[in-house]
Amino acid sequence: MRKELTIRMRNIRILGRNIRDGIKNVFRNFSLAFASISCITVTLIIVAVSIVGSWNVQNFTKLIRDDFTIVVFVKNDASAEDETKIRSEIEKINNVESIDFMSKKEIMDQMKKSSQTFNNVMSSWDENENPLDDTFQVRVKNDEKISDTAEKIKAIEKVDTVKYGEGMVESMVSIFKIIRYILIAMVLGLVVVTAFLIVNTIKITIFSRQEEIEIKRLVGASNTSIKQPFIIEGLIIGTLGSIIPIIVTIYGYSILYEKTGGKLFSQFIKLVEPLPFSLYVSAILLVIGVIVGMFGSSRAVRKYLKI
């Protein structure tokens, strides 16, 4: 028990000294530390842009998918009974989530309200002259199978036409998917590249301290206690390197959101609200910065621990 306690005390003392040394080293070799910090800063800004981009793209996709509907036009001569039958047929299809009915009268009223011209033309129609069709608006569970579902609905008796964006929406979704994958790949690629850049930058720092490491090894310091100050140094470098990207993310994104009013190009593409979104992104940036810094240092020292 006592022995364990002394060992623990020793490790705490070693850690304490190493934290002190790690902090000292960052400022003692600040020009080199600065190189690593700038390297992390630049990459993390790009990473931030990619994360914000891919998150938003995912958000657009979700919004578009939520709006995915199949519009079913019923033949003009269909009776109310036929319509109940069609409804129950549609309900039987697996992929269907919900069905909304809109009678031709409702559609006409809506159109009348929407424009003066429509109003003028349609007001002259009488009840039986209305050329519009009753419609069902069908929402699907899985939008990838939408064309399949549409085909099934089309086969139902008394159904006239079925519309679901004719592949336009589908291709939009798949384009967004590709964009998102590219952005994610960019983030991962950048993280790996930065890690290597940092390994090299820190290697330069360590090169000038090679002798110190060698002597530490010779006087009987364990590898862990030699590595510790460097890892702490990496942690500090990573943290310092993520400060500017975090500021850029929080302020930059809220400014972008305000300037665009939360919408991009059209009404349909809505941006994610800045809070708490930009805080999540900041947390991710900090974690990436710290991990990359620590990993970089730890890799860089390893080479010198084989004497």
Binding site: M9, R10, N11, I12, R13, I14, R17, E211, E212, E214, I215, K216, R217, L218, V219, G220, A221, S222, N223, S225, I226, L305, K306, I307
Partner: protein, 232 residues
């Protein structure tokens, strides 16, 4: 009691050069031994194997009960804490004071401050540098720098002190002073191995002399001298 046991050791470097052939050697606890021989005779390789900078290709080396050849890289520090090493080029850290250079090793072991202070001052006093604790290496003479490195090597009271050409950079008078310091340390019970080219100190000290020649043990004298006829 044998402190170092070298049995059938052979060392072949990756380049294909054989530095040591079938070496057998015993060094007792408390011994003072010189290892001499011409350049390329394998003396550096031999002591590097003692502190596991090199691994033997064949055979077994036991240092204080530790099988050096089988020691994994991560565990090397356990061996190094049992011994002190002194180099020809001192290997002091220029940015640290004498005190810090000596205390350095103990700090790496995680000892409490008071204990570090006590041991460090004791070691510095033993090598006769009490007045210079706050000096930096560049303010010291070569002999003084070597004393600092000896103090660092003995600060943890090791059982074995390995010195690789400790007087190689020093003038004859200073060399003798360094040897006197080593003798004092030896009298306190520490086993000492000195690799050297210095005929003079070997002849004056009359300690055990191990002569290597082309990787083989050629002679092993109890109270030997550096024979003039031996190749130098």
């Amino acid at each position: 009691m044998e402190f170092i046991k070298i049995t059938d050791v052979e060392k072949v470097y990756k380049t294909g050069v054989t530095a040591i052939y079938g070496l057998n050697l015993r060094i007792k606890k408390g011994d003072f031994a010189f290892i001499i021989g011409a350049s390329g005779s394998g003396k550096s390789t031999l002591i590097k194997m003692l502190y596991r900078e090199e691994k033997p290709t064949r055979g077994e080396i036991l240092v204080g009960g530790v099988n050096v050849g089988k020691l994994r890289n991560r565990k090397v520090y356990k061996l190094r804490r049992k011994l002190g090493i002194v180099f020809q080029d001192f290997k002091l850290l220029p940015k640290l004071t004498v005190y810090e250079n000596v205390a350095f090793a103990l700090e790496m072991y995680g000892l409490p401050k008071s204990e570090i202070r006590q041991k460090t001052l004791k070691a510095i006093e033993l090598v006769g540098l009490k007045e210079k604790t706050k000096s930096y290496p560049h303010q010291l003479s070569g002999g003084e720098q070597q004393r600092v490195s000896i103090a660092r090597a003995i600060v943890n009271s090791p059982k074995l002190l390995i010195c690789d050409e400790p007087t190689g950079n020093l003038d004859p008078d200073t060399s003798m002073e360094i040897m006197k310091v080593l003798e004092v340390i030896n009298d306190l019970g520490t086993t000492i191995i000195v690799v050297t080219h210095d005929r003079d100190i070997v002849n004056r000290l009359k300690k055990r002399v191990i002569l290597l020649d082309k990787g083989r043990l050629k002679k092993d004298y109890e109270k030997g001298t550096y024979d003039k006829n031996e190749k130098h």
